[in-house]
Amino acid sequence: MFKPESLPTPERSIRLRSLLHSRSRAWLLALLLGLVTLLAAATLLALSGWFISAAALAGLASVGAYGFDYFRPAAIIRLCAIGRTAGRYAERLTSHYAALGLLKDLRVHSFTALAQQRHSNRHSADTLQHLVGDIDLLDQFPLKVIAPWLWACSLTALVLLFWYLLAPTLLIYAAPCLLLALALPLLTVRRAKVLAQQDTDASTQRRTLLLEPLSMLTSLLLWQRWPDNINRFSGQDKICLNLQLRQQLLISRTALLQQSLLALSLILLLWQGSALVANNLLSVPLLLAAMLALWALHEALLPLCQSFIALGLSSAARDRLNRLTDVSAATPLNKPEPAAPLCLNVNRLSARQSGALVGPSQLSFKLQSGEVLLISGASGSGKTTLLQTLANQLAFSGEISLNGLPYSEWQLSNTVGYLPQQADLFDLTLAQNLRLAAPTATDAQLWQVLDDVALSNWAKSQPLQLDTLVSEYGAAVSGGQARRIALARLLLTQRPVLLLDEPFAGLDPATTAHLLDTLLARQRNGLLLIVSHQQLNVPGAKQLQL
């Protein structure tokens, strides 16, 4: 029905207004169908009322069936009945289709935006869980804000037009209250926005107050500190519930006031209508139709009362999403790539992980193509921080230069390969995981690299071989194996500079020796930096003790 659009380019941050742009035709159709449905429902009610009243009038006047055209209204009534049913069905399908499309766009958008950030690894799993939730909140904007307002305004305009056509004085009496009822929810905009923001903040606070005691439950119990921690959480929970109550009260009170205004409008309509009927300016069946049209409007106006709470939640979600996916400065891509032979020069380098209290400071060393640097030191001495800095993932002070030019002047993404201690494997097959690094690698190349990291025997013993599913939680893969799969993947990229963080942890001496030989052979013309707490026997290697 709709062509899948191409992936959006995430240059700008998300704006609520532009949420409808990417799927404009689908949204337009959904909005139109919704309007048709509501119109059909209103017409069905008003026309049925007019029909039986007119019929009663004709019956009383003994005009009977002969003077009264009952075929046409009956046909329209049937049409409206079908229109309402089909319209609602089609509207729900289209709007869900569009909303799911929007969900897809937003996911791709935020994914691409995150991908453009240089230091995205700083986000905790919890933050990312929120990201997913926030994306899901954004489809409330078209569904709960735009659509209800569009429908309510159009339908109100049509009802007003109908009244005007019947008798302009009807409009004068009944319209003000109706318009007030329509506009009333606008008064809640600011309040709703504040409440939604408070709600978001309070929920975050509540989550922290729960997560922390939970993570140290046993100690807190032993130290008799659990009750007061949980009391603090319960206090925050009360605040959250209270905010929820206030949101509900805002909606309920608006609805109450709106319904009262509509009731007043109805009474005024009847009051003026009876005067018009008395003067023979309006027939009773048409007055009934006018009243029923107003009656049918209730269904369209009621959803407006909660629209601004939905708006507040959507914009809070949008803000968080934009903050998280903020692309501060796009790096220009026209920098040169360094060519072999390489010469790495580090001078008085200091760096810190974000939030860390200590880190490596004032380090200097020099490394040429074909050389190996073995880095050792106590836990917390900054080995990992050093590797991350050399991988161009952390800000630093001092100098790092490659072939005489500072790091920042080079395009390094095809030059430097970094293996972190916690290697990420994805919920994909072994081959798919490896091919992330080299999409065009043949099976033979994959087997070769698995052999290099001493995993080919293991892979051959798996029933599905290269198609074995490896995930973080996959039972088939141990921590050491996961690390070696990640190393194999990194080797496939054939980067001249390799930074490896504890690649031999948990390996027996024979495997370690095999792996080390492979690495030395592969990096014969490149640079190899290894962080390891084990004593490694590499003749001619430079040593760095932190």
């Binding site: 994914f111 140290m216 119990l221 519930l241 509900q248 009876s274 209290l357 993932q393």
Partner: protein, 581 residues
């Protein structure tokens, strides 16, 4: 298929648990229902008044009698009462429902927290801390729709149509019959709708969580993807997953919406049919009743005004149905915690330890709640001040043994502390004299001093510094600009894994406990750091009775004994020898 199996074995379990939860708030919910029924009655009255008003006007205008405002004035007070009364009743109904929902949710949270506190270190059998907190927060909140809307609606869907049919019957049995003919379809469609919607939303939820899982999986590994320059391919994979989700859920939604569309169709058809029947009847041209007016105008209008309301509650129920599916899914997640068999440590004896105690285990045997074996019977004893390690394959019950000593787990056999059975001791009092340390330390996002004072609330600054000196952290902390008041990040961010465990050791020192129970305190540390921490523990724990569970014995040469739990005949190996072997 996997996810559906528990459903097949216990089909009504989440529903029953939900019903039990609602019990405490029955008064509020029933009052809400009463208000809703009253609103329905007011609606009937409102229609009756309007029908009478219009009938009066119609007859007057037909007979040429001038319409005066007296009739409207007479009706006005009661009409205004109906028009304004319904929103007011609705307002209080919402208020009561929300109050009920909030009470239930917050008491459920308290209940869940009590169960978790009861489980102690075994809480992680129900999920990691992140998923536990999302259970306690999001999943409990997911019950809201069910409590505040669905419960009342479920009764309203029967009561309101019944009231309306009774009112209509007074005027026209045939019209009531028309509605009743379409009404059988009500229970039928409730079942249809229920099954279709439940299955649909269940499948949709699963699909959604799978898609979110894929997205999360890729975003978490973003650094790696950037490294490999594979972000574009990954973005394509995200797009494909979302596309597949849309296609599959659209086909499910088509069915789910169809059932409510059929309902909608009947409601529209019933109104159209009624209008035609009543209209043609008023014209006197019904084929079976020519020249007769079966239902006079007032009755006809009354019926016509009521008819749309006949189906309204059912339509509402249809759209609230996902609230029920959501609540049942949430209950499914929560029930393992709620159904945890509460075990109360029975003892009352206050045993104050003045020195490291002698601990003796005699045929200690631990079973799970399902009577599966968690720890095979084991006997050994530790002298006062003795220090031992427990080893064995994962799942052999090492941690459970510690949990039993902590007083969190029921057991068979005997644990004797200085010859006093553990079950005879008052639990809180016993626990206060224990020091416990696990893989992840108990460090909060607070200052270093506050973290230490969690363990010992009234320790002086001097005492804190002394403890930090003992764990060799003071030189580092001394150099920080804020010293003891340096604030650590979430989960102790700012310090390395080894430093955090040292800080945890400082907490233990401040407690001055005589019994130390350590559960793999170095499992996540690299070899060298683990070695140094093990050595430090050896220095600091002299004179304590200590049990450490550890995979590696690297640096534990100070132990008196290593006990292997996989061997049915417990082997006692000298610590030093074992390390050399």
């Amino acid at each position: 298929m996997k996810a559906r199996t528990p459903k097949l074995t216990s089909p009504s379990q989440p529903a029953q648990q939900l019903a039990r939860l609602l019990h405490s708030q029955r008064k509020r919910l029933n009052s809400a229902l009463l208000l809703a029924v009253t609103a329905s009655l007011l609606f009937i009255l409102q229609c009756y008044l309007l029908a009478g008003l219009f009938a009066g006007w119609l007859i007057a205008s037909q007979q040429g009698i001038p319409v005066n405002s007296a009739q409207l004035l007479n009706t006005l007070p009661s009409l205004a009462l109906c028009l304004l009364g319904r929103p007011v009743l609705q307002y209080y109904r919402e208020h009561l429902s929300l109050a009920a929902s909030q009470h239930i949710r917050s008491s459920l949270r308290v209940q869940l927290l009590a169960k978790l506190a009861d489980a102690g270190p075994a809480k992680n059998q129900y999920g990691n801390d992140g998923s536990l907190s999302s259970k306690l927060l999001e999943q409990v909140d997911a019950l809201d729709g069910f409590i505040s809307r669905y419960y009342v609606q479920r009764y309203l869907v029967l009561i309101t149509p019944l009231l309306l049919v009774c009112a209509i019957f007074v005027y026209s049995p045939l019209a009531a019959l028309i509605l009743l003919v379409t009404a059988p379809l009500v229970p039928l469609f409730m079942i249809l709708l229920g099954n279709a919607a439940a299955a649909a939303s269940q499948r949709q939820l699963q699909q959604l969580s799978r898609m979110s899982g894929r997205f999360l999986d890729l975003v978490r590994g973003m650094a790696t993807l950037q490294q490999l320059q594979a972000t574009e391919r990954a973005a394509q994979s995200v797009a494909n997953a979302a596309e597949r989700y849309r296609d599959s859920s659209m086909s499910v939604l088509k069915l789910a919406f169809l059932s409510s569309a059929v309902l909608e169709f009947f409601s529209a058809l019933a109104i159209a049919l009624l209008a035609l029947y009543l209209g043609l009847g008023l014209l006197g041209i019904l084929p079976w009743a020519k020249e007769i007016i079966p239902v006079p105008y007032q009755g006809a209008l009354f019926i016509l005004l009521l008819a749309p309301e006949f189906y309204a509650p059912l339509r509402q129920l249809g759209s609230d149905y996902h609230a029920k599916a959501q609540a049942e899914a949430a209950m499914d997640e929560l029930s393992p915690i709620l159904q945890r068999h509460a075990w109360q440590h029975p003892g009352t004896q206050l045993l104050t330890l003045n020195s490291a105690p002698h601990i003796s285990l005699q045929q200690l045997h631990i079973l799970t709640a399902e009577q599966r074996q968690r720890l095979a019977p084991v006997s050994f004893s530790i002298n006062s001040g003795g220090r031992i390690a427990l080893q064995g394959p994962s799942g052999c019950g090492k941690s459970s043994l510690l949990h039993a000593l902590l007083g969190f787990v029921p057991y068979q056999g005997d644990i004797l502390i200085n010859q006093h059975p553990l079950t005879g001791l008052e639990r809180n009092h016993w626990q206060q004299q224990l020091a416990y340390m696990a893989q992840y330390s108990s460090i909060a996002a607070a200052s270093i001093a506050d973290n230490l004072r969690l363990a010992a609330a009234d320790a002086s600054e001097q005492q804190l510094i002394a403890a930090l000196q003992q764990v060799e952290l003071w030189p580092l902390i001394q150099k920080l600009p804020l010293g003891l008041n340096t604030v650590l990040g979430e989960r102790g961010r700012g310090l390395s894994g080894g430093q955090l465990q040292r800080l945890a050791l400082a907490q233990l020192l401040l407690r001055n406990a005589k019994v130390w129970l350590l559960d793999e305190p170095t499992a996540h540390l690299d070899g060298a750091t683990a070695y140094r921490l093990h050595q430090l523990i050896g220095t600091l724990s002299q004179g304590k009775t200590l049990i450490i569970v550890s995979h590696q014995l690297h640096g534990l040469d100070w132990l008196d004994q290593v006990i292997r739990l996989d061997n049915p005949a417990i082997s006692h190996i000298d610590g030093a020898q074992y390390v050399q072997a």
